[in-house]
């Protein structure tokens, strides 16, 4: 569904992404994993059309897309760094979203338990609740593809389990989810496919079994594969 062909990105003579070629299938959850500074967020921004590659092409449903405006109808993006209007009460923000996005169904609202924080000011929310609100916003925008940059930051294990269930329900509706993730154990629980980035290059791509085979790892943990892949 989404394919990237020989993508290069440079910032002030520093190459952040090198020769990125990959493809992401419809109805999957693809986890982009890699150490800090590997280029995960930049790669997501390029797929979203917020950043332009210096070289290379992006295709969505075999259509060559050039800019954010081309990509916008396909993708909903949750950036890692975003502070939702701190001066607003949650209900004001939700009302705004409902009116603009014409949301009539309250299922997602209920799934996120936003009722619990409905009258609070956004600036007074805990990190986990703020992250929940961010995620709710991204998932409220109806698109075939959801790109989530570090969506699990600030969640406690219970919240995490809950959010994972919501994301899995989206995949059942043939939605595609691409997410960057630090926590390998969670990545293993939720993702079907993995893209391993290191120093701006794709080191490996595939399902857990394919990666296990490629790196001759017997254990059923992504962590071992990750370490082995980075060691080269």
């Amino acid at each position: 569904m989404i394919s990237l062909n020989k993508i290069y990105k440079t910032y002030e003579n520093v190459t952040v992404l090198k020769n990125i070629t990959l493809s992401i299938n419809k109805g999957t959850i693809t986890g982009i994993i890699g150490p800090n500074g590997a280029g995960k967020s930049t790669l997501l921004k390029i797929i979203t059309g917020i950043e332009y590659p210096n070289k290379g092409e992006i295709y969505i449903d075999n259509m060559h897309v050039m800019s954010f405006n081309h990509i916008k109808p396909f993708i909903s993006y949750m950036p890692e760094r975003m502070t939702i209007y701190p001066e607003y009460h949650v209900y004001e923000y939700i009302d705004f979203l409902n009116k603009v996005l014409k949301i009539k169904n309250t299922n997602l609202f209920n799934l996120f338990f936003l009722e619990n924080i409905y009258t609070k000011r956004i600036k007074h929310l805990s990190k986990g609740w703020h992250q929940r609100l961010k995620l709710y916003t991204a998932l409220s925008i109806k698109r075939p593809v959801y790109i989530l940059d570090e969506p699990f930051e600030g969640f406690d294990p219970l919240q995490m389990q809950h959010i994972i269930e919501i994301l899995l329900s989206f995949v059942k509706q043939s939605k595609t989810i691409i997410l960057s993730i630090h926590e390998l154990s969670y990545a293993q629980r939720i993702c079907n496919d993995f893209i391993l980035l290191n120093k701006g290059e794709v080191v490996a791509q595939g399902t857990l079994n394919e990666l296990k085979e490629k790196y001759s790892v017997k254990e059923n943990t992504l962590e071992k594969i990750f370490i082995k892949a980075l060691e080269g």
């Binding site: 975003m82 209007y85 607003y88 603009v100 609202f109 916003t137």
Partner: protein
């Protein structure tokens, strides 16, 4: 379209949720009431003699005596405080990364920018409307309102306010933090004042540049003259700054440099065209920026003439001649040719002004309007008729009872309290309703 209306309401609400908006309103209330009180006090004291003397009374104009000094406070506030109000509209969205959120909704980045500009303009109108109690109160205490001059003055502040919005947006689009953008806005605004200071320098290039300063162009409005070229110039600057801000603000624009170069070329070309537009209209009741009716009638009858000025353009006499005579002349006669003579000829005849009409020449050392009209009558062979009494401006002196102007403080205090109440209602309204 409905979505954009929702966005507009959100943007206006954002302004109304911000403390800076209310600080601005309170400051505006204090400064306007104090300026009005001082202006009325001076005007009233001076009027004590004028009410008994018709000739002295002619010098009493409410526009220059009351409204210009009172609204002067608005100029300072717009320059030094309004950037803090308007910058946040863009910088908060950029800083919090919520611009990306809005761009993913059914809004284009162009649409978001338009709505942000429109909401800022609505807030500006609100600020300008806060000056209305001055006009109403002045009328209630028996003062005369020259409507055309008052409207011109308000449109001056509207244009200046738009300029401040454009500068604020420009700064907010190129800087990342509120502090940086605010300081840069103030830098640009104060720089535009400094350019105007150059008019008193005897350097032709520097004094030439001052024609492009914002304050120089706003002076026409304050003096009661509608200048089309100044209005267009201000609109051009505002459009250029807003477009540049839009280019920097919009993350989905690729060729920013090309767009900016094209905008600069277009801006310079339009500025050049605008230089050739000469339409000024004196809107003052006293006709202080134009000649009397009979003098105008006389000038329209006589053929085109030339004026050779043997003065350095920086000379104070040359400036007086330009301000007192040539500016008024340009409102009536556009086919008069003026030359500043240079070189040896200038040195030999320094200080004289030569008028050539019907191949006849007359020279004078005087720059006085009366002296020049005597020369023009002599050269043309026509004479100026005596002014009719009803065409003479009577003047509007007004003696105000001691302390009456103080009541405006009370009106503005009520407005300030009302604005604080609105702030609390919008920001801390307890929400009972549940989904």
């Amino acid at each position: 379209m409905k979505s954009y209306l929702i966005l507009l309401f959100k943007e206006i609400k954002d302004f109304l949720k911000s403390k800076t908006t209310y600080i601005f309103i309170i400051l505006l209330a204090i400064i306007l009431s104090y300026s009005f009180y001082s202006a009325v006090d001076l005007y009233s004291k001076a009027s004590l003699t004028a009410v008994k003397d018709k000739l002295y009374a002619q010098g009493f104009e409410p526009a220059s005596g009351i409204f210009v000094p009172t609204l002067g406070g608005l100029f300072i506030l717009l320059s030094l405080f309004a950037p803090f109000v308007f910058i946040q509209s863009l910088i908060n969205e950029k800083h919090n990364n919520t611009l990306l959120l809005l761009a993913q909704m059914p809004f284009s980045t162009k649409g978001i920018f338009y709505i942000k500009s429109l909401s800022s303009f609505i807030i500006l109108i609100g600020f300008i409307l806060l000056t209305l109690p001055i006009f109403i109160y002045w009328h209630l205490i028996g003062g005369h309102i020259p409507y055309s001059e008052a409207l011109l003055l308000l449109s001056e502040y509207m244009l200046y306010g738009l300029f401040i919005i454009a500068v604020s947006f420009f700064s907010a689009s190129i800087f990342k933090t509120h502090a940086q953008a605010s300081i840069f806005s103030l830098f640009l605004i104060i720089l535009s004042w400094f350019i105007d200071f150059g008019k008193d320098m005897n350097i032709p290039f520097v004094s030439g540049i001052t024609k492009f300063s914002i304050t120089h162009n706003l002076k026409y409005f304050e003096n009661g003259t509608f200048s089309l070229s100044s209005t267009l110039y201000l609109l051009l600057i505002i459009s250029f700054l807003l477009y540049t801000a839009y280019v920097f603000f919009n993350f989905s624009i690729r060729e920013k440099t090309i767009r900016l170069i094209l905008a600069i070329i277009l801006f310079i070309s339009l500025m050049f065209i605008n230089q050739n537009i000469h339409f000024n209209a004196d809107l003052t009741e006293s006709r202080k920026a134009s000649f009397s009716f009979e003098k105008e009638r006389f000038l329209k009858k006589i053929p085109a003439f030339t004026i050779d000025i043997y003065l350095d353009p920086g000379d104070s006499r040359a400036k007086d001649f330009e301000n007192d005579f040539l500016k008024k002349l340009s409102l009536v006669k556009t086919n008069v040719k003026t030359h500043y003579i240079k070189g040896k000829e200038l040195q030999d005849n320094y200080g004289t002004i030569v008028f050539t009409l019907n191949n006849k020449k007359e020279r004078t050392f005087s720059t006085s309007e009366e002296e020049i009209f005597i020369i023009l009558q002599k050269l043309s062979g026509l004479s100026i008729k005596k002014e009719k009494t009803q065409q003479i401006f009577p003047g509007y002196p007004l003696v105000v009872k001691n302390g009456w102007a103080m009541y405006l403080f009370i009106i503005y205090s009520i407005l300030s309290v009302l604005s604080i109440t609105i702030y609390y209602m919008i920001s801390f309204k307890p929400f009972k309703k549940r989904r």
